[in-house]
Assembly symmetry: C2
Amino acid sequence: MEETTKYTVIGAGHGGKAMAAHLALMGFPTTLYNRTPENVAIIKQRGGIDLESYHGGPRGFGRLALVTSDVAQALAKADVIMVVVPSSAHADVAKVCAPYLRNGQIIVLHPGRTCGAIEFVKVLRDNSCLADVTVAETETLIYASRSDGPAQARIFRIKEAVPLAALPAKRTAQVLEVLAPAYPEFIDGVNVLHTGLNNMGAIFHPVLTLLNAGRIESTHGEFQFYIDGATPSVARVLEAVDRERVTVAAALGIRARTAMEWLKLAYDTNGANLYEAIQNQPGYYGINAPATLHHRYLFEDIPMSLVPIAVLGQRYGVSVRAMDAIIRLACIIHQTDYWRRGRTLDKLGIEQLSVGEITRYVNDGRLD
Amino acid sequence: MEETTKYTVIGAGHGGKAMAAHLALMGFPTTLYNRTPENVAIIKQRGGIDLESYHGGPRGFGRLALVTSDVAQALAKADVIMVVVPSSAHADVAKVCAPYLRNGQIIVLHPGRTCGAIEFVKVLRDNSCLADVTVAETETLIYASRSDGPAQARIFRIKEAVPLAALPAKRTAQVLEVLAPAYPEFIDGVNVLHTGLNNMGAIFHPVLTLLNAGRIESTHGEFQFYIDGATPSVARVLEAVDRERVTVAAALGIRARTAMEWLKLAYDTNGANLYEAIQNQPGYYGINAPATLHHRYLFEDIPMSLVPIAVLGQRYGVSVRAMDAIIRLACIIHQTDYWRRGRTLDKLGIEQLSVGEITRYVNDGRLD
């Protein structure tokens, strides 16, 4: 019989703690790594994480094999490395891990946002990592979860079908097979352009945040983000940005889901237009807006989601003027240049590739 | 003794009715023209307009010399034609008036927004108007006024120093002299690039409206437009757009007032930044937001104010990316192309001019 898969979870935020505890409770030897020792001190002291969840879901004390801030230790025995950090930290994680990776290890970004795996592989290459590892990304975080204490996690929901793609896609089946005992919910996401261009947060979060900027800041987010925030006019901007995303995907030969199709698929929500579909989604009721504009809906979703989609559009001849307007406003409000800080084609190492070459790269891994 | 100046007021909205009644009460023979007979039927029947105003201000029944929807009649005896219509109608007014204008008549746009007089003169030329008329524009409407009935008007305030410029500017002094008996408040606005580039509504209205779009639509404007709407982040966008406007002016050799300087000048308001200056302006308290996004703050201020400033910037090498973002969002929300509908350089007839040539044109009137 094969040995049980050993997991290392990188990141001890809401998602990382839930995942580490859940994996441990499922019986997998699990290591938890966090760069900052203070963030995992209490987990280390207790030896694990208390997990609660929805009725019938996983619960109990997830005893961890190791809790560490030493990356060499964290990676030494891992078969699978689960990266559960904000996507703006993916490049740093890759850099830190590069010297310690071994042949055969699998790295999964939860989620990749847009072009996460491509960026991760590029940073490994730039840091002289010669190990034959497989980097994969999911389309969304499998958990809806929250951590209410230093060694606590609570899972609200485990999503049922989460697309995952390896880079190259020819290794996706193998990754799914390794993960299946823990996560039968992962399904074939085709390739990392698919998972990255089906990033719905890229559309919803920045547009809703910016076209409600004054209200967020003057009420500290005391209104329903989707229900009050997605008015007919705001929804028209959502549709325009979404149309650009789907067109960028089409330019790369990919049929991405529209936001309308996604609402139908994920929540069985219908409507004559995006405004109606959002208003018809019961799950959106009661979700408040962010309390401030210094929120990942801008500082993560702009550079790691919207910028890579927009630069792919610019590279392959798609007008992305609505995205440009949204990115520009975020740059002004945060007084930074997200066009530079974001995932640009040079940072991804794909600025010279034709559509055919980028397709071959994500499917077969050949970058020549 | 010279004959009393005869006025014709074009437009019977809030401002037009106030102006016509006020002029009549000051003793000037005044004609009121409105394209749609129904809009002035009751005024015509009564022979004038009831004017009320602030304590000590003008009041009484302003008996009009003529109320008409016949433009030939309206213009026949006029010395001065006061155009008090939304700036989006300026081109139409010019077209309608072109055949009936006579040498020596003065036309004043209240206000021109940006490039109003330039557009007016271009439309007259395109419609074969050979009369030697003088077109001028003001920087803002001299009245704060409101009409609460078909033949009623109420003036809240008459502004104290309103810049006015003729096209060409060498005729400004002559226009001011003709207007002075009625309006000593008008002062020399240097030239029509000055008046047009000091258009503060171009900055405040679209940015505040769009970055509060969701709130306007979901509350029907039930919040304080400036006080709640101009939060620190929204004010940063205001500052960015304002900086672009002032830079466009500088590229044309003009020192435009910044929004901060304007708040200081108009209201003696100070602050470390635009956010503070707006919050320190007592006059902004209690002013609610528009009840809908179908409002002149977008459908007038985008094409007639922000677009001409932006196209001047593009023509003379100024980055106007913040303006572009704002215009783009308005295009999406109103599902129209304001870049085409707005005052573009070809519509203004100045697309071939160098900075030197445009300066000579607005100052001396030579377009060759």
